[in-house]
């Protein structure tokens, strides 16, 4: 089980308090988007082997969405940060 730091509660809590919400930093396409752009937005993901930016929700805590950089090979969390903040540079 992962130990995840909620950047709002500023506490490390067990994974079972959180819900995973997929890749982070996806920008919703405007209504004028082409079929290709919509397909890309809806279904296609980087699914990175290595450091991946993803969203989590502190479902049974504060209930808020936040972002997380995690190495998908070791499952080690690099950093968590609040929604709306830019992706931090890797240390």
């Amino acid at each position: 089980m992962l130990l995840i730091r909620c950047p709002y509660c500023e506490m490390e809590r067990p994974e079972s308090e959180f819900k995973y919400a997929g890749e982070a930093h996806l920008t919703r396409e405007p209504l004028t988007a082409t079929d290709e752009e919509w397909t890309d937005f809806l279904f296609f993901r980087h699914n990175t082997r290595g450091v991946y930016a993803e969203r989590w929700r502190h479902a049974v805590g504060c209930g808020r969405f936040f972002n997380c950089l995690r190495d998908t090979v070791s499952d080690k969390i690099v950093v968590t940060y609040r929604a709306g903040e830019p992706r931090p540079a890797l240390p």
């Binding site: 994974e15 819900k19 279904f43 296609f44 990175t48 082997r49």
Partner: protein
């Protein structure tokens, strides 16, 4: 060397001291007609049918580890075809019809055991969904039937049908022709048969790049053992499909997540069938060695670690103990994870890509083993002819743009 009663007797007489190697381990040649990336069951089956049915024998199967060492060697070996949609009944039905004669076809015992597969319904919703599957299957000529709780216990006497438990058994969908096979033997059988037809299987050779020519078409792969030329490349890399396709600059509609499994200490025969429940994330059968083979749920997050959280396996074992109280003191021997590539509609992708010469067979998610022969068979046709046949056509990468999705979330048997 063919396996036969005579060859077994001869080897037994010699104390089994000089069985030959079952497949060659050649160094890669500079170029092939087709390179298959990934020597799991699906990749090896593709190579076998390319050589056997399409006469394409200049084929290399490139594998970063050892053959059958990924999800082929990690899955819980369930074979069934009780999916909902016609397209799925096409591909899984095709595969299911190939299993009974596969040992003869490959001259290698894959230990196919059609012992029956029971999908347990725990709620009114489960009951409705499974009955809908049963009726759809029967219209498509695929066997599947409804059992009451009492009938289910007759088939599987250790099943607890007490209506007072947390997830009571309200009935079950039962496919009598479903069952299991020996996963390693499937990989080994295809490897041996493909190798005999001239296919080169190159193990311990990670692919590090996909090279393209001036026109944009593929012209080969960069590997740990140097460049290998090929005008056609078939990527059959399961959980690692996204990283391999990224080498060609493509993103995929996939998320790779760990799926866990466990085996118990060996017991006398207690479990006559394969049981699964997607409501409580559990499936179980008993191997010929007597171990209970238990499939757990998938972890929530993208990972390539081939391991997962213990809470996932714990939840499965709690459910197993409630459904099968006699197993509550059985000890587990091992648990592990495999990385499964899950598509948005839980159906596989078998198709061309925007890059000429690059084909992909992926997205089998939590249930690819059952499809191994059928998947290899239709993917070989696609790679050889450049066009999908009627069975493979609905599983194109294009369906995510056209919207012709094939939603099999209920039939997938693992909730995710």
């Amino acid at each position: 060397m063919r396996f036969s009663f005579a060859s077994l007797a001869r080897q037994a007489w010699r104390g089994h001291s000089d069985w030959p190697e079952q497949w060659r381990s050649p160094e890669p040649k500079p170029a092939y007609d087709v390179v298959i990336v990934g020597a799991g069951g699906h990749g090896l089956a593709t190579a076998y049918y390319l050589a056997k049915e399409h006469g394409v024998t200049k084929v290399a199967v490139i594998e970063k580890g050892w053959l059958g060492g990924g999800n082929t060697g990690r899955n819980t070996t369930v074979i069934r075809s009780n999916y909902l949609w016609e397209a799925s009944e096409g591909i899984y039905g095709h595969a299911h019809r190939m299993w009974p004669t596969l040992s003869q076809e490959l001259n290698y015992n894959v230990m196919f055991s059609p012992r029956g597969h029971m999908m347990i319904a725990h709620s009114h919703h489960d009951e409705q969904a499974f009955k809908r599957h049963i009726y759809a299957n029967r219209l498509a000529g695929i066997p599947n039937e409804w059992l009451t709780p009492e009938q289910a216990r007759e088939v599987c006497p250790i099943l607890n049908i007490d209506p007072g438990i947390r997830y009571p058994v309200r009935g079950a969908a039962f496919q009598r022709t479903a069952g299991t096979a020996r996963h390693d033997a499937v990989a080994w059988g295809y490897a041996r048969a493909a190798s005999a037809l001239g296919v080169d299987i190159v193990q311990n050779c990670p692919v590090t790049g996909i090279r393209r020519d001036a026109s944009g078409a593929v012209c080969g792969v960069e590997t740990a053992k140097g460049f290998i030329g090929a005008k056609k490349i078939g990527v059959v890399a399961a959980g690692n499909t996204s990283p391999v396709m990224a080498m060609a600059g493509l993103r995929m509609p996939l998320e790779s997540v760990p799926l866990q499994a466990l085996v118990s200490e060996p017991l006398k025969p207690v479990m006559p069938i394969v049981m699964s429940s997607n409501t409580i994330h559990a499936y179980m059968s008993q191997s010929d060695k007597g171990e209970l083979v238990i499939g757990a749920g998938s972890d929530a997050y993208v990972s390539y670690s081939q391991t997962g959280g213990l809470h996932i396996a714990t939840a499965t074992l709690e459910a197993i103990c409630e459904l099968f109280p006699m197993l509550s003191r059985v000890r587990m021997l091992r648990n592990w994870g495999g990385i499964v590539d899950v598509t948005p509609d839980r159906s596989p992708i078998l198709g061309k890509t925007p890059i000429p010469g690059l084909f992909v067979n992926c997205g089998w998610g939590t249930g690819g083993f059952k499809a191994t022969p059928g998947s290899g068979h239709v993917f070989a046709h696609l790679v050889a002819t450049g066009e999908p046949n009627a069975i493979a056509a609905p599983f194109s990468l294009e369906r995510f743009r056209t919207g012709a999705l094939i939603n099999e979330a209920t039939a997938a048997a693992v909730a995710h």
